[in-house]
């Protein structure tokens, strides 16, 4: 019995080797499985593919392995190479790659939530500023509190991977902090701690205090 038209069967049949190896996309896997369930002739041919698959692996496994000298030869060649410049950009790239690779999917999901939250916070800040500006009818001096995101005292914060979006919201509200920019490479956010510039010592004290909060993974002063 052949319930598939010829063209579809041909398309599906071409995919059988990848189905056996488990390297098809989810969509194609579903197509192949449905076709196999409805077409006994295709299912019979799939059994042939599975035999080929098994024997190809066995054949390759009997090919043996290179001798222990292979690695020696490689490192002799590497030693003969000109000394490599330790470019700082490589080190930074490595750190960024390792930073993201070290996160579990759940942690990455939290980080994603934190990033979304930060964007929403920024949108909220901008909206509230615009509303306030439209309400202002009187004269405002140049020394009035600034809402310019470039003015004030700032820190760079990376939130702890285990911190939830609720934790971060509460932390920002409790400490009257505003997210000014981010996320930046390394998951860092630029956070405004005061609307005016602060002496270095005072800013350092704020950083020290904020550092104790479990929501904060990393914090440093920023220009």
């Amino acid at each position: 019995m052949n319930t598939l038209n010829k063209e579809t069967q041909s398309d599906i049949e071409e995919l059988l080797p990848w189905h056996a190896a488990g390297t098809l996309s989810r969509r194609d896997t579903q197509r192949v499985e449905e076709a196999l369930a409805n077409d006994p002739e295709l299912a019979r041919r799939y059994e042939m593919v599975r035999e080929e698959f098994g024997e190809t692996i066995l054949l390759n496994e009997t090919l043996g392995a290179p001798s222990g000298h292979a690695m020696e030869k490689l490192f002799a060649k590497i030693d003969a190479e000109p000394a490599r410049k330790q470019a700082t950009s490589f080190n930074f790239t490595t750190r960024v790659v390792e930073f993201f690779a070290s996160f579990s999917p759940r942690t990455l999901a939290y980080a994603g939530s934190a990033a979304v939250l930060a964007i929403l916070l920024q949108a909220g800040i901008i909206a509230s500023v615009m509303i306030k500006e439209t309400k202002t009818t009187g004269y405002e001096t140049a020394s009035a509190p600034s809402t310019d995101p470039g003015v004030g005292a700032f820190t760079l914060i990376r939130f702890a991977p285990q911190a939830s979006s609720d934790d971060i919201t509460k932390f920002l509200e409790a400490n009257k902090l505003q997210v000014a920019a981010g996320p930046m490479p390394g998951g860092l956010f630029k956070v405004r701690v005061a609307v005016t510039g602060l002496p270095k010592g005072e800013l350092a004290n704020i950083v020290k205090k904020l550092q104790e909060d479990k929501v904060v993974g990393f914090i440093a002063t920023a220009d």
Partner: protein
């Protein structure tokens, strides 16, 4: 325990980390060797070539952009090296008789059939495929590469990958038939 990903190892290698190179080599050299051996059919040449392949990985790690898996990238390098070696030293290419001695220690077809060892005959038939067909069969079945990855390694369109695999399998059936096994396909 979480193992260091190949991508992280490549980033470290780009920074000159020899230990990362050792780990990557230990992880992949056997598969790369087997892939090369199936192409060049000479163990000494294959062994020389893998050190060249990994030397290229050492040199080019900083340029790796992560558009493909590291293993796919290395197989592309390996393929290029193997084909270059075959072009450079055609005298090293083995004749079919010698090649068969290396690649298959199973019984000859008649003896195998007498033993009703269909699997051994199938392995021998796999060895008799052309280099082009062997390569694609190995990449799909042994190296578990997707259609897209095979296209990247071999440098052909995805549609050609599928048809080449189909014809490789068809040829396999023909070889089997010559040896007394009729699979009823194609």
């Amino acid at each position: 325990m979480q193992t260091t990903s190949d991508e992280v190892l490549i980033a470290r290698i780009a920074g000159g980390d020899r230990l990362a190179m050792q780990v990557l080599f230990a992880r992949h050299h056997v598969r790369v060797y087997r892939f090369v051996l199936r192409l060049v059919r000479n163990e000494a040449t294959a062994e020389d070539l893998i050190s060249d392949v990994f030397l290229d990985v050492w040199r080019q790690a900083g340029k790796f952009e992560g558009r493909s898996a590291v293993s796919t990238w290395m197989l592309s390098i390996a393929r290029f090296k193997a084909l270059s070696a075959l072009r450079r030293k055609p005298e090293q290419e083995l004749d079919e008789e010698t090649a068969e001695q290396i690649e298959d220690h199973a019984d000859n077809p008649e003896v195998a059939l007498a033993k009703k060892d269909k699997a051994a005959v199938l392995r021998q038939a796999l060895s008799k495929l052309s280099a082009e067909h062997r390569e694609i069969v190995d990449l799909v079945y042994y190296h578990e590469k997707s259609v897209e990855e095979v296209a990247g390694i071999v440098g052909i369109p995805e549609a050609t990958v599928k048809t080449r695999m189909f014809y490789a399998r068809k040829k396999l059936s023909e070889v089997l038939k010559e040896q007394g096994i009729d699979r009823g396909w194609p």
